[in-house]
Amino acid sequence: MKKLILILVALFALIAGIILQRSLITVIPPGPHELDSAFPDLDGKLHRLDQWKGKVLIVNFWATWCSPCLQEMPEFVKLQQELGPKGLQFVGILTDDEADAARDFLKSKPLNYPVLDGSIGGRQLAQKLGDTTGVLPVSVVFDPNGKRVHTEIGVFTRDEVMEKIKPWIK
C-alpha cells in the first residue's frame, strides 16, 4: 500500500508536469479575422483595423528605437502621398510602450498616415501576422478584402511595396 501511494504520487507529478508544460506553450492561432482588432491612436481614440477594408492596407509595426524602421518610413510617406488617392493606406502600429517617445518623434517628423499605440496587443498582433521572432520592422500587406497577402520582415523598400500591391494598384 505504501509503495502504491508513492508510485501514484510520482505518476501524478509526472502527468501534472507534462500537462502544465503543454498548457503553457499554446500560441494564439492566426484567426480568420486578422484585421479584427483595434488600437488607440496617440490621442486615445480607438481605431478598428477593418475600417480600411476596400483599400490595400499596409500595417507597419515600428518603434522609435528601431533604426531600420526610421529608415523605411520616409518612403512610406511618399508612397502614401502618391498612391493614397489610388487606394493605398499605410497604418503604423507602435509596439511596446512607445507612445510618449513617438509623440516627441512625430513632432519633428510628422507622418501622413495614422499611428496607433500597440503597447497593448501590438506585439501579439505582429506575431499573429507572421513575425515569429519578434523583430521590427514588420510590414503586412492586406488586399481590399482584408486578406493578408504578404508579410515583410525587415526594411520594405519602395520597389518591393510596388511589387506587392501591383495586382490592385499600378
Partner: protein, 632 residues
C-alpha cells in the same frame, strides 16, 4: 519513512517546477524557426543580399546569449555573447534588482562601444560580446538571494531589430564585510515596476496579517495531534530519558529535559515546513490545473482512508528498532541527549501522522512562504509537545490513558482530510457538485456520530453532546442537499440561490452588480470603444469558476451595496476565463496577466489605469477606497 515521504513531496514540487520551466522556456522567445508555412516560407526571398543558409533570423536568445553571475560579495558580472551580424545598443542596457531591500545597484561603468551611424544619428553598439560588472550596495552583511532583472535591446545588421528583451535571474550573494556606506555613491537604480507592487502587497499582507493566526492554528492542530495514538511511541522514550536519569530528579530538571526534547522535535518539523515553503513557491500556478487539483484531492482521500484505519502508514520496522535502541543508549539524561532523541522521535512519529503532516505541508507549499512554513510547523511541533511537557512536569505520573477516544481523534483528522479534498475540488468542479460533496461529508459524519440512533436511557453527557453535534451536522447536510436540488452552490448559504442570469427577478434584497461578459479580444475592444464614446469609466474583471478569491470578490465585494452603487457608474465588463481557452489566454496575455482574480480600470479616455490594477482579493471597504482613488 517520514523523510522518504517528504522527499516524495519535494519531488512533486520540483517536477511541477520543472514543468513550469519547460513551459516557460519557449514562451518568452517565440518559436525558433521561420520556415513554417504561408508567407513565412517566402521570407527567404524577401530578405535581401543573403545566401539561403543565412536566411533564418536567429531567435533573440540565440542572437544574444545572456548570462549573469556573482563575481564577489559586492559585484555581479553580466555577459552577452552576440552572434555575428547582430549587435546590442549600449544606451539600452537597463538593470534592476527585484524585491531585494538589502541590496541596491551601484553606478555601472559601461564600457565604450563601437560607433555606428544610424538613421537617427550615431549610436554606440556592441558586436560579438558585451561584458561588464555591476557594483552592489549592501545594507546588511549576511548572505542574501537577489533577483536581477536585465533589459537589453539589439538588432541584426540586415536591418531588423528585436523588441527589448527582459531577463530575470536569481543569484545568491555571499556574506559581505562591508555595507552600503563603504561602497560607491548612490545609484540611479531602476524603480520597481508599479505593476508588481500590488502582488507584493498581497504577499506582505499574507505575511503580516495572518502569520500569527496561521501559527496559532497550527499550534492547535499539533495539540489535537498529540491526543492521537501517534504520541504513544514518544512517551516511553521521553519517560525513559527522565526516569533513566536516575533516582532523584527535580521537577525543574525533568521539565528542562522534556522541553529540549520537544524543542528539538519541533525544529525537525520546522525543517520540513521551510522545505515545503521553498519548494512550494510558484505552486499556486500549478494549482490552477484541473489534473493537479484532482491528483491532490485524490491524495487527500487516500490519506483520509489511512486515518480511518483502512491501512497503516509506518516507518519500516528496522529503522524504528534502531531508533529505540539509540534511545536506550541516551540515558545519561543530558539536555543534548534529550534533544537528539526529540529530533529522532519526530522521525518515528512522523509516518503515523503522515496524513495530517502532508496536509499541512501541502498547505504551506501553496502559500510558497518558507518563513510561514517554518513558523507554522514549529508551532505545530510545540503544540504536539504540550502533553509531553506535562508528562515531564509530573515526572511520568501523568500519562494519558489509551482509549477508543484516540481513534475518534484520528477519525476527526480523516474527516478534515476529506474536507480539504472537497475544498481543493471547489476550483474545478461546478458549485452544486461541491455542495453535494459537502452534504455527503456532513451527513455521513453525522451518522458516525450516532445522530440517528436513540440515546440509551441514562446516556452520558458526552454521548448527548455528540448526538447534538451529529444532529446539527445532519440537518445542515440535508439543507445543503435541498440547496443542490434548488440549484444553489454556496456552502455557507445553501438555501440562497446563486445569482444566475435573468432568472431572479425577485432578487431585490441583494443589489447585484451586473457584468457584461466578454469572450474575445475584439469584443473587449468594442466594449471599451463604446465606453469611451460615452466618456464613461470601465472596469474589466477577470473571473474563473476555479478561482476561489474571484467568488469571494463577487459575493463579498461586488455585491456590497456601497460598492455596487459606485460600480453602477461604470461600464462593467467581465472575462470568464474558466475554460482557459485560446481566447481566454489571448485576453490574459493582452494585459500580461497570469490569471484571475484581476481587475483593471479604464478611464473615460479609454486608456487603462495600470497603476490601479487590483490583483487578488480586496474586501469591500478596501475596494471602495481603491476605486475612489482610481477615479479621482
Amino acid at each position: 519513512m517520514a523523510f522518504y515521504r517528504n522527499t516524495v513531496l519535494i519531488i512533486v514540487f520540483s517536477l511541477g517546477l520543472t514543468g513550469l520551466a519547460l513551459g516557460l522556456g519557449p514562451d518568452d522567445s517565440s518559436p525558433p524557426e521561420l520556415s513554417v508555412g504561408n508567407p513565412l516560407a517566402r521570407l527567404g526571398q524577401t530578405i535581401k543580399g543573403f545566401g539561403p543558409e543565412q536566411d533564418k533570423l536567429l531567435p533573440p536568445d540565440q542572437a544574444f546569449q545572456f548570462s549573469a553571475n556573482v563575481k564577489d560579495a559586492n559585484t555581479l558580472h553580466v555577459d552577452w555573447q552576440i552572434a555575428p551580424g547582430y549587435y546590442l545598443y549600449r544606451e539600452r542596457f537597463k538593470f534592476a534588482l527585484l524585491d531585494s531591500p538589502e541590496v541596491a545597484l551601484g553606478v555601472i561603468d559601461l564600457p565604450r562601444g563601437q560607433i555606428k551611424q544610424e538613421e537617427d544619428g550615431p549610436k554606440e553598439v556592441f558586436h560579438d560580446s558585451a561584458s561588464f560588472d555591476l557594483p552592489l550596495k549592501r545594507n546588511a552583511t549576511g548572505p542574501v538571494n537577489i533577483r536581477l532583472q536585465a533589459k537589453y535591446q539589439g538588432c541584426a545588421e540586415r536591418g531588423v531589430c528585436y523588441s527589448p528583451i527582459e531577463k530575470t535571474v536569481s543569484l545568491q550573494l555571499p556574506a559581505t564585510t562591508s555595507t552600503a556606506n563603504t561602497v560607491l555613491p548612490t545609484a540611479k537604480a531602476e524603480p520597481k515596476p508599479v505593476a508588481v507592487a500590488e502582488q507584493d502587497r498581497i504577499a506582505d499582507s499574507l505575511k503580516n496579517d495572518s502569520i500569527w493566526l496561521v501559527a496559532a492554528s497550527f499550534f492547535g492542530f499539533g495539540l489535537l495531534m498529540a491526543f492521537s495514538p501517534c504520541i504513544f511511541p514518544m512517551i516511553p522514550i521521553l519517560s525513559g530519558i527522565i526516569v533513566g536519569h536516575g533516582h532523584k530528579i527535580t521537577t525543574a530538571r525533568a521539565f528542562m529535559l522534556s522541553l529540549s526534547y520537544v524543542l528539538a522535535a519541533s525544529l525537525a518539523y520546522t525543517v520540513f515546513g521551510v522545505l515545503a515553503g521553498l519548494f512550494g513557491s510558484n505552486l499556486q500556478a500549478v494549482f490552477q490545473n484541473p489534473w493537479v487539483i484532482g491528483s491532490f484531492s485524490a491524495l487527500f482521500v487516500l490519506l483520509a482512508l489511512s486515518m480511518f484505519g483502512f491501512y497503516e502508514l509506518q516507518m519500516p520496522s528496522f529503522i524504528q528498532s534502531r531508533v529505540t535502541e539509540l534511545s536506550h543508549k541516551q540515558k545519561s539524561g543530558t539536555l543534548t541527549g534529550a534533544a537528539i532523541m526529540g529530533a529522532l522521535s519526530a522521525l518515528i512519529v512522523g509516518p503515523c501522522m503522515a496524513a495530517p503532516l502532508a496536509g499541512a505541508l501541502i498547505y504551506i507549499g501553496q502559500t510558497g512562504d518558507a518563513l510561514l512554513g517554518g513558523l507554522a510547523l514549529f508551532a505545530m511541533g510545540l503544540g504536539m509537545g504540550v502533553p509531553l511537557l506535562a508528562i515531564g512536569l509530573s515526572a511520568g505520573k501523568l500519562l494519558p490513558r489509551a482509549g477508543v477516544w484516540m481513534n475518534a481523534v484520528r477519525s476527526v483528522f480523516g474527516v478534515g482530510m476529506l474536507a480539504l479534498a472537497v475544498w481543493l475540488l471547489d476550483r474545478i468542479l461546478p458549485a452544486n457538485v461541491i455542495l453535494f460533496l459537502w452534504a455527503l461529508l456532513l451527513i455521513i459524519s453525522a451518522i458516525f456520530l450516532n445522530a440517528l440512533d436513540a440515546l440509551p436511557p441514562g446516556a452520558s453527557g458526552w454521548r448527548k453532546l455528540w448526538k447534538g453535534v451529529g444532529v446539527a451536522m445532519l440537518a445542515y447536510g440535508v439543507l445543503m442537499l435541498i440547496g443542490v436540488a434548488n440549484g444553489s452552490g454556496d456552502p455557507l448559504q445553501p438555501m440562497r440561490k446563486t445569482i444566475s442570469v435573468g432568472e431572479c427577478a425577485e432578487n431585490k434584497t441583494t443589489p447585484t452588480t451586473r457584468f457584461r461578459r466578454i469572450a474575445t479580444v475584439s469584443e473587449l475592444q468594442d466594449a471599451l470603444q463604446t465606453a469611451q464614446s460615452e466618456a464613461r469609466w470601465a472596469m474589466l474583471d477577470f473571473y474563473a469558476d476555479w478561482c476561489v478569491s474571484c467568488k469571494e470578490m463577487e459575493k463579498e465585494t461586488f455585491a456590497n451595496p456601497q460598492v455596487s452603487q459606485e460600480l453602477g457608474k461604470m461600464v462593467l465588463l467581465q472575462a470568464d476565463v474558466t475554460a482557459n481557452s485560446d481566447e481566454d489566454k489571448a485576453l490574459l496575455k493582452l494585459y500580461g496577466l497570469y490569471g484571475p482574480p484581476s481587475t483593471l480600470f479604464f478611464g473615460p479616455d479609454g486608456a487603462e489605469r495600470k497603476q490601479y490594477r487590483v490583483v487578488g482579493f480586496k474586501g469591500p471597504e478596501e475596494f471602495l477606497d481603491h476605486l475612489q482613488q482610481a477615479m479621482r
